[in-house]
Amino acid sequence: MELTIANFVQIVIACLLIIALMVGNAVIMVYIERKAAGFIQRRPGPYEVGPRGTIQAICDSMKLLGKQLFIPGNVDWLLYFLAPVMAFLPVLLLFLPIPFGKYLVALKVDDGILLILAFAGLGVISNILAGWASNNKYGLLGAARAVAQSVAYEIPMIMALLAVVFMAGSLNLSEIVERQGTWPWQWNIVFQPLACFIYFVSLVGETNRAPFDLPEAESELTAGFHTEYSGMGFALFFLSEYANMLLVSFVCATFFLGGYKGPILDGFWWTFIKAYAVMCLIVWLRWTFPRVRFDQLLNINWKWLLPLSILNLWVTAIVLKFIE
């Protein structure tokens, strides 16, 4: 790809749109999440501010903006401030290669999925920095859990995606969508149901969502790695957590659910509908299942997901050879 002024302008506009998407997504998802939680737990959820409580999330974010930036004693101030910024910045980069529509791609990278997987690792580093720098036992424990969890769940996630890459013969996200058809039975979820399942479980683990929210388990560790953060520091972590959720949902939609292809008319609306369906599934999962214990979490990964994903990869390779 050549670097021209037009390309540069395109990337800048894309970054601005992505920031808007991230913030809008956080506001909408907080509302959906709290309403869903209320529905599942037989309580109304937010209903005071605005019609049916719709402005509640905006008021909350205003409150976060106005809060004092508090630095606890004896923290490593450089790392303490670096951590939320490091959580937020790479997410911008991660959205660039996602094909929202056939022509709606911010940056056409040939190794798009590799870019996403590579820079997603920076999020873990921000978590462990936050936990370590805030000079807090809860924070440190949360950081230790974040390390073990994300290193473990990254492997079956990559293996599951690799099975689809085998089928498509390409690391380019647009090409992977192009290989899938319009109708649901032509999507990769039909050809790779096991990979889709493994990917879904590991994405819950990677984004630290319940039932795998061990790094920030509020009933054990107050808030885990971000215990000492308030105001904008917390807001940045919060924003990046929801943006990460959105990102893995988009990757799920692209890899397994046909991306921008769908019945009647292809287009970016299908990507968004599918991604938000995955998001709602994650929210539903959070309020339905209790949190697993830490040894259970690691056992699920190392004893089930990893062998299954290796098996899946192996079977995929053999079948592909036979078809050839």
Binding site: V109, D110, L114, A118, I125
Partner: protein
Amino acid sequence: MDQAIEKILALIWSPFNALEELIAEWLPGQEVAALIAYGVYVLIILAGGFMAIGSRNLIRAMIGLVLTFLGVAGLYLLLASPFLAFMQVLIYVGAVCVLIFFAIMLTRNTNEGEESKLPGIGSALYGLLAFLLPLAVLGPLIVKNVPKLTLQSYGQTETRLLGEGLITQDVFSFELISIILLVAMAGAVFLAWRRRPTPEDPPQPKTGSAPSLSTKGGAQK
């Protein structure tokens, strides 16, 4: 009006154009944007390196290491191999550094180790020697064949060629490296392996080692 805007734009661009001409004179055949990117990446690498050796705190040193790895990934991008660049970030930043952090956390007192003191003149000399040796070996080679930096990418052909190379002509070295990794993994499992006590075993005395973060603790009590 249009002419005025053109003049202002020309004024803004003039230092860049001058720089471009200067670079074209010095290093013929190189892209200017790529050279600027090269400068930025080298600065990142150097800053990360100095942060890694200069800071008294192990975690800050690790952040320096992360910066250096990111800069090196940028250099791979400039050599038109995005696959290597992304793998560098994925493996070194996403896995190796995270495991280094884990190792740091298992040892206590990150601020009071041997590294918190400034090194003496002797170790500084050794460090300088260790820095100059690769430079002396590799420097002439690099000066002799300057690689062409580029912001272009050759797309998936690069990844495909790499994969084909690994399973055809370089398959022996590839397998050798996997055996080394396998040995390391088997060794780690062997060192960490402990038989779970059965009810007939006498209760083991508690050792005074540091509390470990291992997940097996609950099962052994």
